[in-house]
Symmetry: C2
Subunit: 305 residues, 2 copies
């Protein structure tokens, strides 16, 4: 067992409170004061989740947007965030990006911590998002049922194409194109849009829901595993925002933050969404892509917890 | 203005929601459902807040205890924590220490994130603690009134002496004493005890309260500033857990996590506590030590945010 797997197992053994959902869901779900709190915390690490040369405004945007996307998967309304910030270069740009994203989604900054960076060292940032459930029971990954239809809220691969546009721009002379030029098509990668409104509309109807942060196939693998079913995905039905010859990549690439959800057979989703397959009882693996069962998460997407 | 001060000013400009308390208090205070949420997030950075050679179990304890201490200052009952963990050496010890501290204070782990460390780099950890107010209005730093009495819940300097014991043990040959030997008197530094029960008992009675994380004088400076009063502290009345010739150091050293609070004149605190002075209208500075007004926080304690 790797050190990471061992550590996560140790955390699962500690997280016995029902609100923790066994650390197998996007968020914690905690009844409080007659309502239900939705709580999530994500970290971003320089060299792992972002690069030194990225515009810190984009890093701030993504840090907030990825946490809000977890709230979206629960149909939750954001009520605020706490920021753990490590000081460093470009803090003014970070603050500017934070302001933009918080204003865009009308989320207040409630508090947090500001610390010095270690010497030498990559920086890290953490964000805690706090939400209010708008629908109880709160959707989980574990409710998909045989015969349900499987949907996604939008095309996949946009972030992949955006990152490649950024990398291509960065490798051309600066006089031609700035790496952070928003006209480069990189917005989907730099400034993901959490599907908050879609999540709220879907929450009362779905049998299972999660956001696609690590790639459709890997996240579907998690949903199938949590629900103890097989998700049969038809590759050609999946909407992609990439050239056709990149379809297989688009199914595996992360950072798109669309919602993956299941509905009872024949239901009509209340928001734009595309049916990509159907649920069956568990057979061989939690995900089938066309006629092939996938039995291992390795290689399905970007695997981190 | 330093980069840090500029960044914190930018955050204050963003944190206009009343729950943020202007980022000038220990925690956020957010009405939710029919109750009040108390929210706090602290980070610890290798080389800044802990050292590579420390037992990771102690780092986990301290990370949780310092956040619970912020809840204690609000008279809050902890309802759970979210952990942002960067993988590294000694993760098994970290998990063991986390289990110990969560069981000791009966606090559930609700969720969080596990990430890889940057290469090369110091590690960082973040913790968000969520609490339930047991007393509304929730105590703040800003309510101290002229003629109030000033108290602390216990002696100061214990963490200072504990750190020195650790450092002394580390410099002796390993065969004589292990650096993490708990008999070395270092417990106060390694395993601080948040004053949760005391905070809850005090919350309905205090005019102002905060935990002493950065040294009595610096934290009193913050309370006096927030309350727009002068806190007159009698150095000889302050209980210390250090030799008498270290009294001035003990007033400035952090990491003790006792509670500093003010009560209307003549009240009797419901928990063991020592009166150390009295509040007056603001004159010259927010803190007077004996007959000297302190007008600048520099040098009063360990100044970080």
């Amino acid at each position: 067992m790797t050190g990471e797997a061992a550590f996560i197992n140790a955390m699962r053994a500690l997280a016995t409170h029902p609100a923790a959902r066994g650390l197998a869901d996007d968020t914690a779900v905690l009844p409080f004061g007659g309502e239900v709190l939705i709580l999530t915390h994500d970290m971003m690490v320089e060299g792992v989740h972002f690069l030194l040369q990225q515009d810190p405004a984009d890093i701030a945007w993504k840090l907030v947007a990825t946490n809000l996307s977890d709230l979206a998967a629960k149909g939750a309304e954001p009520v605020g965030v706490l920021l753990g910030h490590m000081l460093g270069h470009g803090d003014d740009r970070f603050a500017a990006g934070l302001k933009e994203v918080l204003e865009r989604y009308n989320v207040p900054l409630l508090g947090g911590d500001t610390v010095s960076a270690p010497e030498p060292g990559g920086r890290s940032m953490g964000l805690t998002a706090i939400g209010r459930a708008t629908c109880v029971p709160v959707p989980s990954r574990s409710g998909a049922k045989p015969r349900d239809d499987i949907y996604v809220t939008g095309p996949l691969g946009a972030a992949m194409m955006g990152l490649e546009a950024l990398q291509s721009a960065a490798s051309t002379p600066e006089t031609e194109s700035a790496p952070d030029d928003s006209s480069s098509g990189s917005d989907a990668y730099r400034r993901p849009q959490p599907r908050l409104a879609e999540g709220r509309a879907l929450a009362p109807l779905v049998t299972a829901m999660m956001d696609i942060s690590d790639g459709l196939l890997l996240d579907a693998f998690r949903m199938g595993t949590a629900s103890n079913v097989s998700l049969h995905i038809n590759a050609q039905q999946v909407p992609i925002a990439a050239p056709e010859d990149r379809r297989q990549d688009a199914l595996r690439w992360g950072d798109d933050y669309e919602l993956l959800f299941t509905l009872p057979a024949g239901s009509t989703p209340p928001v734009p969404a595309t049916q990509i397959g159907r649920v069956t009882p568990y057979v061989q693996g939690p995900v089938w892509l066309d006629d092939r069962a996938m039995t291992q998460p390795d290689g399905l997407g970007f695997s981190h917890i």
